[in-house]
Amino acid sequence: MKIEYINPFIQAAEDTFRTMCGVEVERDGQLTARKNGLSPAYNMIGVIGLSGAVKGAVLMTMDTATSRKAIMKFLGDETVTDMDLSDGFGELLNIISGAAAAKLGTVHLAIPTVMTGDNQKIHSLPSSPWIIIPMKFPEWGKFNIEVAMEEA
């Protein structure tokens, strides 16, 4: 996978959390590859498919407690239902993916899917492993954005 696919997602995550939630996020270490069949690091997982100039998927994974803090800020409301949590998580991923995709050519986004639970297996294209971008909220904790894509 081309390394130039990565930076738009970091930039988009920074912009999205700053603009929609009023919180800063930052890169938290080196990129690593996650082999097919291994689980994402945290128990809340959003996935969105991409097609067009590139094909593949983007994944965001975060623990539920951190997700709840982010969605409280997103909604501007202390009361976050389970529906708000999954819907808001998917919408934040959708916004991040849209902003990043605009820098990769004409890319179409699928509808995001959000799941919770440990030991989920999320497979990518056989030729394109998940690249993990470690991120963090300095005050709340870590999360990952993962990208698995290739030129169409």
Binding site: D77, D87, N94, S97, A102, T106, V107, L109
Partner: protein, 122 residues
Amino acid sequence: MKVLLTDDSSTMRKIQKRVLAGMGIEDVLEASNGKEAIDLISQHKFDFVLLDVNMPEMNGMETLKAIRGNPDSAKLPVIMCTSVADKGQVMEAIKAGATNYLVKPFQPEDLQKKIEATFNKG
């Protein structure tokens, strides 16, 4: 003023609703896809529509074309509010008759300005 919010994300609709309330707009109906939006447009007289693009059932572009293709709603102001930021797709929406276009992420004042600009155009 009566407004239709169309977005498959209920959290996004809550955020938009709060911005509208801050502008004194309380008469708001909600749709989670284009089909629901078209149904509501056929039953109510709206002053404008906020329309997402990526939605299940009927997406925002199909919905916009359906609105413009119906003489009863052809002139209804439609503000696209979407994560689709690709210039080609933005131009496609403008050509299809979008009155204005707001790319997510946005701050509340960005949405307010787009709504105000939409009505200043007329």
